[in-house]
Amino acid sequence: MRVASSPPVTSAGSSPGGILSSGWFRPVRQYGEYVLGGATVIGMLVTIWAALIYSPREVNGDFQRIVYVHVPVAWVAFLAFFVVFCASILFLWRKDERWDRLAWASAEVGVIFTTLTLITGSLWGKAFWGAWWVWDARLTTTLILWFIYVAYLLLRSYTGRSPSGARAAAVLGIIGFIDVPIVYESVNWWNTLHPQQLVVEDQLPAQMLVALLIAVVTFTLLFAFLLIQLYKLYTLKAAAEELRARVESE
C-alpha cells in the first residue's frame, strides 16, 4: 500500500540518469563517458607534444608556449559561463531542475578555469609586459567575471538546494553573462586614457595555429568530461535526498 501510494516523484526528471537510463541509449550512457575520458587523455598527450615539440620556437622564447594552456583555458571559462546562461534561462522557463543542476555544475567548472586563466595570463604578462598584472580590458573583464561567478557559487552555498536559491542563482547566471560585454566595453574605453603596451598580434605561423586548435579541442573535451561528472554527482545527491525524504515521510 505504501509503495503504491507513494508520490510520483520518480519521474524521468528526478531519477538519476533521467531519460537516458533506459532503451537503446544505455550503451552510450554506460560507455560514453569512458570514451570521452579516454579521448581527453589522448588529446592531452597530443596537446603536450604539439605545444612543446611540434610548434616552432618563438622569437620571444619558450615562454610563449604558455598560450597553449592560456587560450584554451580562457575559451573553456567563457564557454562554461555561456552554458550557465543558457541553462539558467531554460530552468526559469521550463522549471526543470535538471537545467539548474547543469548550471551549477558548469559554474563550478567555469570558476576553476577562470582562475587558471587569470594565473596563466598573469605569468604571461610577467614574461612579456614585465608586470604580473595590467589593467587591460581582457584581463580586467576576466577578473570581474571571476568575481561575479564566485559570488554565484557563494549564493548557492548560502541558499543550499532550495527552489528559491535555484531561481536566485539562475537570475544571477543570466544577468552576470549579459553584463560581460558591457564590462569589457567600459574597461576598453576607460583604457583610452591609459595607453597600454599593445600586443600586436602578428600573423601566426600555421604550425602554431594547428597546435592551438588541438589544445582548444582537447580542453573542450576536458570541460565536457568534468561537466558530466559534476552533473552526475548533483543528480546522485538529489536522488539521495529524494530517498531520504521518502523514508522520512513514511
Partner: protein, 255 residues
C-alpha cells in the same frame, strides 16, 4: 483577456452564482523540495458554505490555504476559485479571495486607517476612504484607527487583519487559525463578525485547533492527515469522537 477585464479598477467582481462551486480542487499535490506536503487533495465548496479545515500540525492545512491564495504553486493537480485557475489566472483569483494567514497582513508602522487605504489603492478601489471607515467601525477599531498598528493588542491586530481581508469584498475568505493567541472576548467578537459575514453569503474556509468549535461553526469539514484527505463531508455527520479516532495517536489539536 478576462484577466485584463478584471484588473481594471472600475469593474467590480461579482461573486459566482449560488449554484456554482466557489472552490474546486482536483488532485492537488504539493512538494517542498522532495517532501510531499499535500497528496491528491480533491474537494469542492459551494457558494455561501463554510468549510472547517482540520488536522494535526504538519497535516498540510496551511499549505492548502496558501495554494488557494496563490501564494504557493501546486506541484501537480489544479484548483479554481469561481472558475478561475489559481495559477493561470492568479491575479483574478487574488481579487476574489481575502486571506488572513499567520503573519499580520498589515504594516506595523502605518496606522490602521493608512493600512486599509493603502490596500484599497492596491486593489484599485474607487471608494477606499468610505470602505475603510465602515470596516474600522464594524470591527470596533474607530478609536484606534489613527494609531500605529505597532501599538495594537493581539486582538485588535487580528480584527484589523480581518478588516483588511474583507476590504475588497472577496467571494472567498481564507482564514488560517484566526483565533490563535486571542483571549476569549476577542474570539467571541471575531466569531460574531465572521458569522455575520457568513449570513451575508460569504464563502469561508478556516483552519483551527479548536476542534469542537470548528465542527460547530462550519457546514462542511475536511480533515487532513499527513497531506491526505481522511474525511470530507458535512460537519453534522462528524462527532468529536470520530475526530479523535481520525487523529489517532497523533499529537497536536486541542481535544
Amino acid at each position: 483577456m478576462s484577466a485584463q477585464t478584471f484588473s481594471s479598477p472600475d469593474i467590480a467582481v461579482t461573486p459566482a452564482p449560488a449554484s456554482q462551486a466557489v472552490v474546486t480542487a482536483a488532485s492537488l499535490t504539493k512538494r517542498y523540495g522532495l517532501r510531499p506536503v499535500l497528496r491528491n487533495v480533491s474537494f469542492s465548496l459551494a457558494s455561501g458554505k463554510t468549510l472547517a479545515l482540520l488536522g494535526p500540525n504538519g497535516a498540510g492545512k496551511t499549505t492548502l490555504l496558501r495554494l488557494l491564495a496563490t501564494l504557493a504553486k501546486p506541484s501537480a493537480g489544479e484548483a479554481t476559485i469561481c472558475g478561475f485557475d489559481v495559477v493561470a489566472d492568479a491575479n483574478v483569483v487574488r481579487r476574489l479571495i481575502g486571506y488572513v494567514g499567520h503573519q499580520p497582513p498589515v504594516y506595523d508602522d502605518l496606522t490602521g486607517r493608512e493600512n486599509l487605504l493603502f490596500f484599497a489603492r492596491m486593489y484599485g478601489l474607487p471608494d477606499g476612504p468610505a470602505r475603510a471607515q465602515l470596516l474600522l467601525e464594524r470591527v470596533g477599531l474607530r478609536a484606534k484607527a489613527n494609531d500605529r498598528v505597532r501599538t495594537y493588542s493581539r486582538g485588535q491586530a487580528q480584527r484589523l487583519a480581518l478588516a483588511r481581508g474583507l476590504l475588497h469584498h472577496p467571494a472567498l475568505l481564507l482564514l488560517d487559525e484566526p483565533d490563535t493567541g486571542l483571549d476569549d472576548d476577542a474570539i467571541e467578537l471575531l466569531h460574531e463578525l465572521l458569522q455575520e459575514r457568513q449570513m451575508a453569503g460569504l464563502t469561508t474556509i478556516f483552519t483551527t485547533h479548536q476542534l469542537e468549535r470548528g465542527i460547530q461553526q462550519s457546514d462542511e469539514t475536511l480533515v487532513l492527515l499527513g497531506g491526505r484527505v481522511v474525511f470530507a463531508g458535512a460537519s453534522s455527520a462528524l462527532t468529536l469522537a470520530d475526530l479523535r479516532r481520525l487523529y489517532g495517536g497523533q499529537a497536536g489539536g486541542t481535544l
